[in-house]
Symmetry: C2
Subunit: 292 residues, 2 copies
């Protein structure tokens, strides 16, 4: 029964056991037959094995003589859970790997256009599909992983032209098993929206902390803490995202700069009626966007 | 024993039973002899009385024939816990009120220069001192008050030239009773620093939500939620703060705009080495400021 895919009978491989991949493994524990973890950082693999977060530690790229699945059993779903540049590199390497059996491959990178382009070049035995769970925290690594990280988070799925109904079914079952919210859209829309809702806020937080003298620290309260939180995210995570979404991020930055300039102008002109209007609209925007 | 002030034997009046004043009353409950609440919004007074948050509801401005304390007993410490413009107005009204006995008066407004200027014009029987607890949340009102709001928060005290040692002792006892951190500084430094650490973040959050289309809401995650949170603060609270700290806020805005422009330029020029440097510095700034 080829299309009767059932998550609970499947073997899932997770590449990258950091915050996202580690949390994924913890959340999938007991909901699939077997979890195989892959990571070039061996201590993460050891911790994941010793804590029972994964069932097996795998080698994604064995010697040319080896088989892709190295006898750990057929992987039904391979999830790429590394930063964007590393996902691109993995997809490039997978192009010349001869996995013998068909395999569904899902990435959970933060941008989608470049990744889907790389996925479209994969050999036929791969059934690729893009994904992006919108959750996380500024502290990365397996030590910050949390089985509930995906709970109630929007999980965007971006199919390719070649994506099969089978892969879509797997993606739906996965999102549902994680307790996340399934949202299907195309990669262009995803990248344009995320530039505004994620990459821009990160840059604002970064510019804010750069603007703040360190000796102001004793007077920092919950407001600054909240606005600046994303600036704690390592550049290793963010640089590839900004690179692969440069056009949209620049456009979102320009829109923001215009809005901030409007606020500044009203304050410079002491036009408090105009300023009050903007702030009232902002509060309404906030309620509509976040707290509605 | 005139200087042996003891909070637990004192009568404290709190003007404004919103988030800040209400939380103050809840936190002081049982730590002073009597709490008198004042609010022009009668339902807040009724709720505060019925829930035992205050012991008495007072009238701050009785008919000219009345006495300032209206027989509720001598108020030792009067705390002004309303938005900045209302504190300025109250101080103006108090100038022509003849409270018969000496009274220490502390405000907890978010800017300090204008308020200290108004305080310096109070009659001699007032012993004024400025204050600003750096805590709060975007949802105001007594219904969001919390006895633990002040716990571990920095509480800035800004004395005037005329502030007595007696008033300073009261302020120290109060801050300690709230479990907050006592920080003494002058009003100029306070307003300059808070422009960066509080008023700027509010404006960034406001410009961010103004830059974000409402139909992006389903893709909003914890990052955007955190960066935009302050935009939920009502303009009634923020407008007076921005007005009374206009010079410092404009200066903080300019500094921020320069930092954001540097980030944008490096991304435009595809100078990822420069961008990585900025982002690494930002992460270090964040750790030094917030998470150190």
């Amino acid at each position: 029964m080829e299309d009767g895919f059932s998550l609970k009978d499947s073997t899932i491989g997770i590449v990258g056991l950091g915050l996202m991949g580690g949390s994924l493994a913890m959340s999938l524990k007991g909901k699939c037959a077997r979890l195989i973890g892959y990571d070039t950082h061996l201590p993460a693999l050891e911790v994941a094995l010793s804590k029972g977060i994964i069932d097996h530690a795998g080698m994604l790229f064995p010697s040319p003589a080896g088989r892709g699945d190295r006898g750990e059993g057929k992987v039904n779903l391979l999830i790429l859970a590394t930063p964007v540049p590393s996902i691109l590199q993995l997809l490039h390497q997978l192009q010349s790997t001869n996995y013998q059996s068909p395999i569904t491959i899902l990435d959970i990178g933060s941008t989608k256009r470049d990744i889907l382009r790389a996925m479209s070049a994969l050999p036929e035995n791969f059934d690729p599909i893009g994904g992006h769970p919108i959750c996380g925290r500024e502290k990365l690594g397996l030590e910050n992983a949390d089985a509930n990280l995906y709970q109630n988070a929007p999980f965007v799925i971006t199919p390719l032209e070649r994506t099969t109904q089978h892969a879509l079914r797997i993606a739906r079952q996965l999102v549902s098993a994680l307790g996340a919210k399934y949202i299907e859209m195309n990669a262009d829309d995803h990248d344009r929206i995320l530039a505004s809702t994620s990459h821009l806020p990160f840059l604002l937080a970064s510019a804010l902390v750069r603007s703040t003298a360190h000796d102001f620290a004793p007077l920092i309260g919950p407001g600054f803490r909240s606005t600046s939180r994303l600036a704690g995210t390592p550049s290793s995570m963010m640089l590839g995202i900004l690179k692969s979404n440069r056009d949209n991020v620049l456009s979102a930055l320009s829109t923001f700069q215009e809005q901030l300039a409007r606020i500044k102008l009203s304050l410079m002109a002491e036009d408090y009626t105009a300023l009050e209007d903007i702030l009232n609209q902002s509060q309404a925007d906030y309620l509509a966007l976040v707290d509605g």
